[in-house]
């Protein structure tokens, strides 16, 4: 094994341009909305405007009589289509409460946006008109929006069949936590609210179902990150033989976790296609997306650390309440568990405890959103490290250095029970401090403080760690996840020397085609252009676990590496046979087998591919053809880390806060494609800053989403962001032979605490020590006023009517 590890790297680590970009950038790529079929009908979904209501009657007759309308169904009409509800694949505890989640609600609507009826029409506009003509008689019920209220005695229940809104309680305890806290010189305890976020991929979701092909097969095209998971789970929901369902993910325009799911609309389109025997299509409207695509985060964290009088950490205690929303989507309950082991960050301690309570509310279900669990953990640790520093009057850099786990190149166990693969946290911090000009920035900050400048400067640090490469299947099993964490790759060497790669991962913008081509080109000595990468079609790549959790390279890419190894092993046998030497006498480098000591006697992999195809002269017992599949189940996670530094400027009169400088030094192990890594880091930081300063889903007391369009849900643009300075350290992972770790989520994980710590650092002299995200101008303004003893009416109570501008066009109830 590992014959290719030392091979010359021509492409890997180099600046190869992304192969997929010309098509994507010139509009030639085929996305879901580009797919059209003869006779295709359009599906429209009627959604509850109420967050909680009994559905008395659904009258579809008016809609059914509109021009072009082919069918209109209530939840009851479609009930017979479902063999089971929509799946939740991660029942995190034995006694978790899992409500039935029908694709179309039948008795009650449990969040504003819950589907209550379906219409099918000849055009999209007719379908939209028909949704408005379905008459639903509701009895609105009391709603539970706030998690703590939902857990209170006598709270309205989201699901009548359960005794409370507590979905589960998940615990992890290592060491004698109480003892450590009782005997600690210093204890810091804080409470953080991590706001609810709306993913907003550029491409909305969409589905096309082509039913009843000659073999009784159904093809489901979906803008999804997870075609493989979708095929298996939808077959169960629809009671359809799995071998008759083929799922294709065309080009997908971003996901960030929001397309890592099995959605009602996917099940509905297959069911309706099955009923009508006609192709059907549904494209999400942006305003639907705000209500019906999963949301992220919405977690209350009580974070506590115990330390000695120098600030050396002894214990960590984290207690979370995580909002599930109204139903459990694919991995809703498991999201906080993805962060459960990381609440001591890059620091070590002796005792560790984590508890999470999942809570049902009448809101859109939450699920994976870029970072998933790890931003919460990182935010809690990095915020509290600053508070610990403040309490001990130390510089936040000093407190971090004191607590860093020493550099290590072999996997080592940490307090939460995980085994970190490798790490050098000092190295990235040192590099970041230098690039940032830390001392000069502190001096500038002091100047502004001394002069009482209206615009104050703050500096924030985040030395983060994350856990990627989901995941060792056995670990997933022990965490009660329903599937494995392996991935697969096939390499097919064509007789002409060209190569096809089939991957079980499912890229949606990341650039896998390029990275996978680089790996194969180097390992098999073929040209980068000669490698074709196929993905996202369950008929073409039957084995796969798809793309999420920064797993593709460190699992799927490693499967590819091992598949290349298998190709080389077989090719070597054939080469030795043809060159009439023993295999031991052959050397392999960059696609060429040569005889040791006689380098002119050689064969290329391409030549062997041809002879394997003709099969005229193969060694005895050798199968013709040169193709190999490898399924890789990672032995461990990978643990990327790094140091992010941020400077913000705060207008202390208006609260306006802007990021002035941002330096990121990330360590994702070895790098296959630096430009792709850069891209992931830039986008991730932007999304992290968005979370820290701009975005927040706000509900009113009736459960109506107030931030239901891009006018009021504040996704920032390039105009709001500074130019980021990025750099890297490279500490190879010990989990896999390529030494890679993953970079897809790093920015989103690292940035929020860097930004909030910076904002608090600016305001600390005014007595502001805490603020929740997003640190919007109004929040900053209110925090300053509160610190000055000027009362501010409590924020939130006051948010009634939307104002003007397009914001006023945000429809309450979102029945647009």
């Amino acid at each position: 094994m590992a014959q290719v590890a030392d091979t010359a790297q021509k492409y890997m680590g180099g600046g190869v341009l992304r192969k997929e970009d010309p098509e994507l950038l010139t509009g030639r790529a085929r996305y879901i909305d580009d797919i059209s079929m003869p006779g295709m009908l359009w599906v429209g979904i009627v959604r509850s405007p109420f967050a909680h209501a009994t559905i008395n009657t659904v009258d579809t007759s008016r809609a059914a009589n509109l021009p072009g309308v082919r069918a209109a169904y209530s939840g009851a009409d479609l009930a017979s289509e479902w063999a089971d509800g929509l799946p939740c694949a991660w029942p995190v505890t034995e006694d978790i409460k899992i409500p039935k989640h029908w694709p179309v609600a039948q008795d009650k609507a449990r969040f504003a946006g819950d589907p209550v009826a379906v219409v099918v029409a000849e055009t999209r506009a007719q379908a939209a008109d028909a949704t408005e003509a379905v008459d639903v008689d509701y009895d609105p019920l009391d709603v539970v929006i706030d998690m703590e209220a939902a857990l209170g005695d006598g709270a309205t229940k989201v699901h009548d069949e359960f005794d409370s809104n507590s979905c589960y309680v998940w615990n992890l305890e290592v060491g004698d936590v109480d003892d450590v806290f009782n005997n600690a010189a210093v204890v810091v305890k804080e409470r953080y609210y991590h706001p609810r976020l709306i993913p907003n991929a550029i491409e909305p979701r969409g589905v096309v179902c082509q039913p009843n092909l000659p073999q009784g097969e159904f093809i489901l095209y979906s803008a999804t990150q997870v075609p493989h998971i979708l095929k298996t789970t939808l077959a169960l929901t629809l009671g359809m033989p799995e071998q008759k369902l083929r799922v294709i993910a065309p080009e997908v325009g971003g996901g960030f976790g929001s397309k890592l799911n099995v959605y009602a609309e996917e099940a509905i389109c297959v069911a309706v296609g099955r009923r009508l025997g006609m192709p059907v299509k549904w494209i999400e409207e942006r305003s639907e997306g705000y209500l019906a695509t999963i949301h992220g985060r919405d977690v209350i964290q009580e974070m506590e650390v115990a330390a000695d009088s120098d600030g050396k950490l002894a214990g960590v205690r984290a207690n979370l309440k995580a909002d599930m929303g109204a139903y459990l989507q694919l991995v809703t309950p498991g999201i906080p568990i993805l962060g459960a082991f990381l609440y001591h960050g890059v620091y070590d301690c002796q005792a560790y405890s984590f508890t999470c309570t999942g809570v049902f509310t009448n809101k859109t279900p939450t699920d994976a959103y870029r970072g998933a669990g790890r931003p919460e953990a990182t935010y809690a640790v990095e915020r509290i490290m600053d508070s610990l520093a403040r309490k001990l009057e130390k510089d936040p850099i000093e407190i971090r250095r004191l607590n860093f786990i020493e550099p290590f190149n072999e996997a080592r166990e940490v307090a939460s029970g995980l085994s970190f693969d490798s790490g050098n946290y000092e190295a990235s911090l040192d590099k970041a401090l230098e690039a940032f000009g830390y001392d000069e920035m502190r001096a500038e900050q002091q100047r502004r403080r001394d002069s009482g400048d209206t615009k104050q400067l703050g500096i924030g640090i985040s030395t983060y760690i994350e856990m990627c490469g989901l995941a060792p299947s056995q670990v997933l099993g022990s965490l009660r996840y329903a599937a494995g964490g392996w991935d697969a790759a096939t390499i097919r060497c064509h007789p002409t020397g060209k190569v096809t790669v089939v991957t079980g991962t499912s890229p949606h913008g990341q650039g896998h085609v390029t990275s996978w081509s680089q790996i194969v080109a180097d390992e098999l000595g073929v040209a980068f252009e000669d490698v074709e990468v196929l993905h996202g079609d369950t008929a073409i790549s039957p084995l796969g676990m798809d793309t999420y959790g920064s797993r593709s390279l460190s699992v799927g890419g490693i499967a590819l590496h091992y598949a290349a190894d298998k190709i080389i092993t077989k090719a070597k046998t054939i080469a030795a046979h043809e060159l009439e030497v023993s295999e031991e006498d052959l050397e392999y480098d960059g696609g060429i087998f040569s005889v040791k000591g006689a380098p002119d006697k050689s064969k290329t992999v391409a030549e062997i591919a041809f002879s394997a195809w003709t099969a005229h002269n193969l060694p005895e017992g050798t199968e013709p053809g040169l193709e190999a599949t490898y399924v890789f189940d990672p032995p461990n996670f990978t643990f990327p880390s790094g140091a992010h530094l941020c400077a913000v400027e705060v207008d202390t009169e208006t609260g306006m806060t802007r990021v002035e400088k941002y330096v990121a030094v990330d360590d994702c192990g070895n790098v296959i494609n630096p430009a792709i890594v850069e891209g992931q880091v830039h986008g991730g930081i932007a999304q992290g800053i968005a979370e820290a300063m701009y975005e927040e889903a706000v509900y009113d007391d009736n459960g109506v989403l107030m931030t239901s369009s891009m006018a009021s849900y504040r996704v920032p643009s390039a105009a709001e962001l500074p130019s980021f300075q990025t750099d890297r350290t490279e500490t190879p992972s010990t989990t896999n032979p390529l030494g890679v770790k993953g970079i897809g989520e790093a920015g989103t994980i690292a940035a929020p605490p860097a930004v909030v710590n910076a904002t608090l650092d600016a305001l600390a002299p005014m007595g502001v020590y805490h603020m929740d995200m997003p640190v919007s101008p109004e929040r900053v303004w209110a925090a300053i006023r509160n610190a000055r003893g000027q009362e501010v009416e409590s924020r939130g109570k006051d948010t009634t009517a939307a104002g003007s501008g397009l914001g006023s066009a945000d429809t309450p109830g979102g029945d647009a």
Binding site: A125, E285, R286, S287, A711, S717, T799, A801, G803, G805
Partner: protein, 274 residues
């Protein structure tokens, strides 16, 4: 985000537009840049049966030096206003503020006439018009009239325009003094959470506010304080007088009132120093 169905008519001239307006009456809406109307139609908050597209009436797209005043065609887009040398020279606040509207895409399609006719209190240019005591030239098939900005904005999305009226021209004075428009917004392309326009003209100062009520409004308290000799900082403390700002996810009414004072002080200081 899919509008209800509607008929579409394209006007070839102002006369044609007026004729179409008369024919379709209250059923119809004029379509200029569409950047306010179409979003409302997509959310089905507006469902006009007929759209009369005046977007191609290029003869209503101009900025002209007209003696004492600058005349701006109602169909002039924000981007052209922003780049107008005549405005930059004689009434810089209009050019500057047009450059603060939305993003480049919005500025290339949105028009000054649409912005004024829409009557959105969060819009920037109406506030500036109010501070400038601008005049609006309006045509209907029965003839023309000129309306003062001070009598124009009557309520949320309501103006003195009748359904059969076409706004053809906006007239602003040549300023003799300094000016400032302070737009406070979170993202570059956002509407103002609060905006403040201050102009010095003919020895007096005018101050108007964006998004502090259901119409753009003059900050009468500030103007009076200035007239009776207060300095900018003192006068600015009157900025929230008689305001009724909205509370929404961008800001509570209380926050907006405080912002109005800070921004008014900054606007006055800038206007007076230029």
């Amino acid at each position: 985000m899919i509008p209800a169905s509607f008929e579409y008519e394209r006007a070839d001239s102002s006369d044609h537009a007026l004729e179409l307006l008369d024919r379709h009456g209250e059923e119809a809406k004029l379509l200029a840049g569409g950047h306010s109307l179409l979003p409302m139609m997509r959310l089905r908050l507006a469902t006009p049966a007929v759209l009369i597209d005046v977007g191609r009436l290029t003869d209503l797209s101009y900025v002209r030096d007209d003696g004492d005043a600058i005349a701006i065609g109602a169909l002039t887009c924000h981007e052209d206003i922003k780049d107008s040398d005549v405005l930059k020279q004689h009434c810089g606040i209009v050019a500057h503020t047009a450059g603060e509207v939305g993003d480049p895409q919005v500025r290339h399609l949105g028009t000054i006439g649409g912005s004024i006719a829409h009557g959105d209190p969060a819009s920037d240019l109406p506030t500036v018009m109010l501070a400038l005591d601008a005049q609006f030239v309006v045509r209907s098939s029965g003839g023309g009239r000129t309306l003062a900005a001070s009598n124009f904005f009557s309520g949320l999305f309501e103006t003195a325009l009748e359904p059969t009226n076409l706004l053809t021209e906006v007239r602003v004075p040549k300023l003799s003094g300094g000016w400032s428009y302070q737009k406070f917004h979170h993202r570059a392309q956002d509407w103002a959470i609060v905006g403040v326009a201050a102009v010095q003209h003919n020895g007096g100062a005018a101050v108007a506010l964006t998004n502090m009520s259901d119409v753009p409004m003059r900050a009468a308290g500030v103007e009076q304080a200035l007239a009776s000799g207060s300095d900018a900082a003192t006068a600015a403390t009157e900025a929230a007088q008689n305001t009724s700002p909205p509370s929404d996810p961008f800001g509570s009414a209380e926050y907006r009132r405080d912002l109005a004072k800070v921004l008014t002080r900054r606007a006055l200081q800038e206007a007076m120093s230029s």
